[in-house]
């Protein structure tokens, strides 16, 4: 038992911190710090900076340009990047598709797609959810029917995050409708520029069109775009759930949010004293901090077990449930800390424009959108209710 990082891990943290201090443009970190929205170009700019340092793909093998960090190193990078207000890395190609290609893709697919992800040639989005398949993902109905050297795809995906920026989509499609739901699903890569692909943005509760519907109308997809074997797509999708979720607790995000919250609560006056001294607010803030102190250790316990090669099972689900509760509480407190200043809705400001309201604190406009946006945490990636089912199923074995 030792809560201290090894000298090598401490040196790595210093290396990451130094890199962020010099390589992260203030233009970007200012936007992230204030909760503003990044443009596609800004996200790509940050990817390119990380890629130049060899740090864009922390979990890939070096042979494909990855950094080969272990789980503890990834956690350290995540913590430091969040505290420095670095943009988050867009995960769809790097963290979601790439591990599936590395484990189940053909060598040709790896050679073709992986460098394009690193270099920013392709922007991937995820085609899993459908209007009738949310938490019950195995009920996907988007059909892919073999026609010579092509699949013909018909159907609809939804909640496709940042699909408006994407030129490729990886999809779960039904290739066999006459078996149990999990058995007839395949994993297919689809060029969004193919004839018959249409995208419609969905404006969400925070006023931003972060997600989209994607429609497929007789879209012809070459058979070489199938990953692994036909009808094995469910296995590949589940592989991700158990192997790539070390960051699921969002501890880095929560650390940064708590730092911001404390700063705001100390600087905001309420009834003649700092909000941080309001006993009710101080109690909620202290309680979430205490939960986060334990969560950091819970996360590290799982992460260090993963670094020793143990694949987390129900632990991932526990991290997700508790981690999202903490993140949602922090965004709720940030919203409340802003008081009436949380009310104005300023999309131009959030996109990078100037603050037009006299004396409105810079941090305030993003607090309500941030709170509303973060309601998604307990819904996506398997809702927290699905996670609770996984947690008990693993232990009750009924």
């Amino acid at each position: 038992m030792d809560l201290n990082y090894t000298p090598a891990q401490q040196a790595f943290r210093t290396e990451v911190r130094d890199f962020l201090a010099t390589a992260l443009p203030k233009r970007l970190s200012d936007k992230v710090r204030l909760g503003k929205r990044l443009s596609k170009a800004e996200m790509e700019e940050w990817h390119a900076i990380l890629n130049a340092r060899g740090w864009l793909a922390p979990n890939w093998p070096a042979a494909y340009g990855g950094a080969e960090w272990d789980a503890v190193q990834r956690q350290i990078f995540e913590e430091e990047a969040c505290l420095a207000h670095a943009p988050r890395v867009v995960p769809f190609g790097l963290m979601m598709l790439a591990p599936v290609l590395l484990a189940f893709g053909s060598e040709a697919q790896k050679q073709h797609y992986l460098p394009r992800i690193l270099n920013g040639d392709d922007w991937w989005c995820q085609g899993y959810s459908e209007p009738g398949a949310g938490s019950d993902l195995a009920s996907v109905r988007t059909r892919a029917v073999r026609d010579g050297s092509h699949f013909v795809v018909n159907g609809q995906k939804t909640w496709t995050t940042l699909g408006q920026h994407a030129n490729w989509i990886f999809c779960l499609v039904r290739t066999d409708p006459d078996c149990k739901p999990q058995a007839g699903i395949s994993f297919l890569l689809i060029d969004m520029d193919s004839p018959g692909v249409k995208l419609r943005p969905i404006t969400l509760i925070d006023g931003e069109a972060e997600v989209n519907e994607v429609f497929f109308d007789d879209v012809r997809v070459p058979v070489e775009n199938l990953v692994g074997e036909e009808n094995k797509g469910w296995t590949y999708a589940k592989y991700l759930l158990t192997h790539e979720r070390t960051n699921i607790a969002g501890v880095g995000f929560s650390n940064a949010a708590l730092t911001t919250l404390k700063r705001v609560a100390a600087a905001t006056m309420s009834g003649g004293r700092p909000l941080a001294e309001n006993p009710h607010f101080a109690a909620r803030m202290a309680q979430v901090e205490i939960d986060l102190m334990a969560m950091r250790t819970t996360n590290l316990r799982v992460v260090s077990a993963a670094a020793r090669g143990q694949a987390p099972g129900a632990e991932s689900s526990m991290l997700k449930v508790k981690g999202t509760q903490i993140r949602q509480e922090l965004t709720s407190l940030l919203r409340r800390a802003a008081g009436p200043d949380a009310l104005p809705f300023l999309p131009e400001y959030l996109d990078g424009g100037d603050n037009q309201i006299t004396d409105l604190p810079d941090h305030a406009p993003a607090t309500a959108p941030g709170y509303f946006n973060m309601r998604k945490l307990s819904i996506f990636g398997g809702s927290n209710e699905i996670q609770r089912g996984i947690i008990t199923k693993a232990i009750l074995e009924l």
Partner: protein, 380 residues
């Protein structure tokens, strides 16, 4: 960063867990309590033979371990088995204070605490003091004849009736709630003027009210410098807080295991009740929060030797979280069991009582939340 136990600790844990599993019996414990006995002297002797009290002291103090993670692993096992023998009162509190402040001749008794021959108790809390460690109104006044006169009342003295020697706090200077001016005295329980009235606690422990009516002790009874005992009291309370937090964790693990078994076995409406999603989701939250409780114990164990501000921040964070999670686990374990979970005959109710009442030792959820906030403001 390493969350695995050393080989030595794995051996200690295995040995203690096996001994308690084979020798610590719920029915025996109930019968003993029904007879009005404070604890089982045979078990106490065996625990001492196994070296368990010694695991709570460093080599320099005459033990063989004594770090935060040693205290945590021992008390988790004690909690898992529902042990009522006086390791907390005699070894952690009494022996801990002696080892921290005693001179060579006073310290000789630590060896007897480790062998189990001597039983100590810490008589500190006073009526109305709640969890305030500096609320000491008992007085210690020098007499003209080179003696010190102790007067006052001490309540909730764990193991007080069984101890041959009490460590008593009393004020030599300053006012109530001052940290300066508090001294500790080694006091044989048989000294004239000492009255010890025993009572049992709802979770099966023996405690006492100690009245000091002009009790005369020699100056050599004082532990450490006059009026300067507060830091040692706070430090030993930090160790005791870790001990009971780990004990609560162990008791939670037992309550959890019993509840999981019950969800699988108990049939209602033609199926095991664990098939019902409403119960599954409640159990999932229990399982998740117990992992948080384990992390909180790890955090305090890892910071027990840290500088005061960092240590006390972890004391309050851990005790607050243990109190909250403990109440959740205890209440859900009873609810998921239904009526059987409320019976004295069934072991669960004993774990539940201990988990809940640990919140009343060394500061509860509210006390430590407020203290965590204060410590944060002091640091800012």
């Amino acid at each position: 960063m390493d969350f695995t136990l050393t080989d030595d600790r794995v051996m200690l844990q295995d040995m203690l867990r096996r001994f308690l599993r084979e020798n610590y019996d719920h029915e025996k414990r109930r019968a003993l309590l029904a007879r009005g006995e404070a604890f089982d002297h045979a078990i106490w002797g065996q625990l001492a033979e196994l070296g368990i009290p010694g695991a709570l002291f460093t080599e320099a103090q005459g033990g063989f371990a004594g770090a935060g993670f040693d205290i945590a692993l021992v008390f988790e096992e004690l909690g898992r088995a529902g042990v009522i023998e006086p390791l907390l009162s005699s070894a952690v509190l009494g022996g801990g204070l002696l080892a921290a402040l005693g001179d060579d001749s006073q310290n000789a008794m630590v060896a007897e605490v480790i062998t189990g021959e001597a039983l100590l108790a810490f008589a500190h809390t006073e009526p109305g003091a709640r969890y305030d460690l500096s609320a000491v109104r008992a007085t210690a006044k020098a007499t003209t004849t080179d003696g010190i006169v102790l007067s006052g009342t001490k309540t909730h003295v764990l193991g007080g009736a069984e101890a041959q020697t009490l460590i008593v706090s009393a004020r030599e200077a300053g006012a109530d709630h001052d940290r300066e001016g508090i001294s500790l005295f080694l006091l044989p329980a048989a000294t004239a003027g000492v009255t010890v009235a025993q009572h049992v606690t709802i979770d099966g422990f023996s405690a006492a009210t100690v009245t000091l009516a002009d009790v005369v002790v020699p100056p050599s009874a004082r532990l450490g410098a006059a009026g300067a005992a507060y830091d040692a009291i706070e430090t030993v309370t930090a160790r005791a807080t870790l001990a009971v937090s780990a004990e609560a964790l162990g008791a939670m693990e037992s309550a959890k295991a019993m509840t999981i078994s019950y969800l699988k076995e108990r049939q209602q409406f033609g199926r095991p009740i664990g098939k019902f999603q409403a119960l599954q989701h409640r159990m999932a939250d229990v399982l998740t929060e117990v992992e948080q409780a384990r992390s909180a114990v790890v955090n305090l164990a890892g910071h027990l030797e840290a500088p005061r501000a960092l240590r006390e921040r972890n004391v309050s964070a851990t005790k607050n979280l243990i109190g909250r999670v403990g109440a959740l686990v205890a209440e859900e374990a009873v609810q998921l069991h239904g009526g059987i979970g409320m019976t004295d005959e069934y072991a669960l109710s004993h774990f539940v009582r201990r988990i809940v009442m640990i919140d009343h030792l060394f500061g509860d959820v509210d006390h430590h939340l407020e203290r965590f906030i204060q410590l944060g403001q002091e640091a800012a």
